[in-house]
């Protein structure tokens, strides 16, 4: 029991909570950016400007089918060889945004496809332009349909920030390792604690998603 109380001392907990803060900060920035980019890419894919859409689709497929860990390594260890310099924080965010934008673009595209095509024709017949119809009629409905997959993608993103521990981003997992690096008896308590912390954040988000789904679905 004394090991537990030593492991969960206020100092250690504070150290971990600061890591949770970094995890959440990186997640939020990445979610916002990748949502915006994913939305644009998804629309480009759906609208189908000849070569542009094909090229975008190809790049998206490549990125989607690579391990995120490889993209993180590439951003942090390989890009600097070409002169692109980044801190661990921006490298983590960049890698997450690149990967998640590609994942989200697919979600957006299938979300738009799932909206009845008759709606577009209907909107156009009332005199709206293609983009007006897209903006006011199609997208709002598509976004509602997308809520469940979007949220589960966001949950993935939060969990995936743990991979950035390898480039010494001082997030939750990295800090847990620092703590048990000083006394290896803390290993079990540390893993339990961070598992609980990740769980609370992710589970809370999935509950919110479920509520949203019920409300709009």
């Amino acid at each position: 029991m004394s090991i537990l109380s030593q492991a969960y001392s206020w100092i250690n907990l504070k150290f971990l909570l600061a890591g949770l803060g970094v995890t959440i900060e990186v997640s939020l920035i990445s979610i916002a950016l990748s949502f915006a980019i994913g939305l644009i890419l998804g629309i480009i894919r759906y609208v189908g400007f000849k070569y542009v859409s094909a090229a975008v689709g190809f790049v998206i497929d490549i990125v989607r089918n690579l391990p995120l860990l490889l993209i993180i390594f590439f951003t942090y260890f390989a890009l600097p060889q070409t002169g692109l310099r980044m801190s661990a924080m921006s490298a983590a965010i960049t890698a997450l945004v690149v990967f998640e934008s590609a994942m989200l673009a697919e979600i957006v595209r299938s979300g738009i496809i799932a909206v009845d095509p008759g709606q577009m024709e209907g909107a156009r017949s009332t005199g709206m332009s293609y983009w007006q119809a897209m903006q006011h009629i199609i997208l709002p409905q598509a976004l509602l349909k997308m809520i469940p997959p979007l949220v589960s993608q966001f949950i993935s993103l939060i969990k995936d920030t743990s991979l950035a521990t390898i480039i010494v981003l001082p997030e939750l997992l990295y800090r847990a390792q620092i703590i048990y690096g000083q006394d290896t008896r803390y290993m079990l308590p540390m893993y339990l604690m961070i598992a609980v912390m990740y769980f609370i954040v992710c589970y809370a988000l999935s509950l919110v998603a479920r509520r949203l789904e019920k409300r709009f679905g």
């Binding site: 497929d61 089918n65 690579l66 990740y198």
Partner: protein, 212 residues
């Protein structure tokens, strides 16, 4: 790039093989475990549903890396020694099975509820109807999403690199650390992953279209 490939062909190939091996093993077990929990979730028994739900929510909401590290560094101290490859494969199995459970459950529930009643009325037991009527249909419905889970599984197997699991990512990373030619090494590793995931991904898209 070609040079990285020719100089380290055996190393990369071993890594590729290990990635494939652990992905297939993890897929096999997570299909069994995932389907098991999916069926439990649809049972009338409340306790069964609670157990299944708890399992699914726990493993869906904790990072795979944390689960894997737990099996690599904590479990061997108290329970049972295991290699990085084993720990990684167990982590992958538990994590993926929770996603597969959700997918299969959705499939089961998408099969018309009338079918169960219909099957029962012909004299089949609950389990017989599940086995011969509901599950085959459910699995057909969920093949595309399951395929996508398998793609995720292959990508996620890179977590073995954290626990010295000798997979593709581990071998590539060790090469990159030794030669400092990170750029070309990671490109080669990326191509190897794409060889596995890209065709699968296109095939699943094709299936999805065909089934829709």
């Amino acid at each position: 790039m070609i040079q990285v490939l020719t100089n380290n062909w055996p190393t990369l190939l071993t890594g590729f093989g290990n990635t494939l091996l652990c992905s297939v093993i993890a897929l096999f077990f997570s299909l069994i475990i995932g389907s098991g929990f999916a069926i439990m979730e649809t049972l009338p028994n409340k306790l069964c549903r609670i157990i299944a739900n708890t399992y699914i929510e726990i493993f869906r909401n904790i990072p795979l890396l944390v689960i894997t590290m737990f099996f690599y560094v904590v479990v061997p101290q108290y329970v049972l020694k295991m290699s990085g490859f084993t720990a990684g494969t167990i982590g992958l199995t538990l994590y993926t099975s929770s996603f597969i459970a959700e997918t299969v459950r959705a499939g089961i529930q998408a099969v018309d509820t009338g079918q169960m009643e219909g099957a029962r009325s012909t004299g089949l037991t609950y389990w017989q109807s599940m086995r011969y009527i509901i599950l085959p249909q459910a699995f057909r419905l969920v093949i595309p999403p399951l395929g996508n889970q398998f793609i995720n599984l292959i990508k996620n197997s890179s977590v073995l690199a954290f626990v010295a699991g000798f997979d593709l990512m581990y071998q590539g990373d060790a090469l990159a650390s030794a030669t400092f030619d990170t750029f070309n090494t990671y490109l080669v590793v990326g191509v190897f992953y794409l060889i596995l995931t890209l065709p699968l991904s296109y095939y699943m898209r094709h299936l999805e279209k065909k089934l829709a």
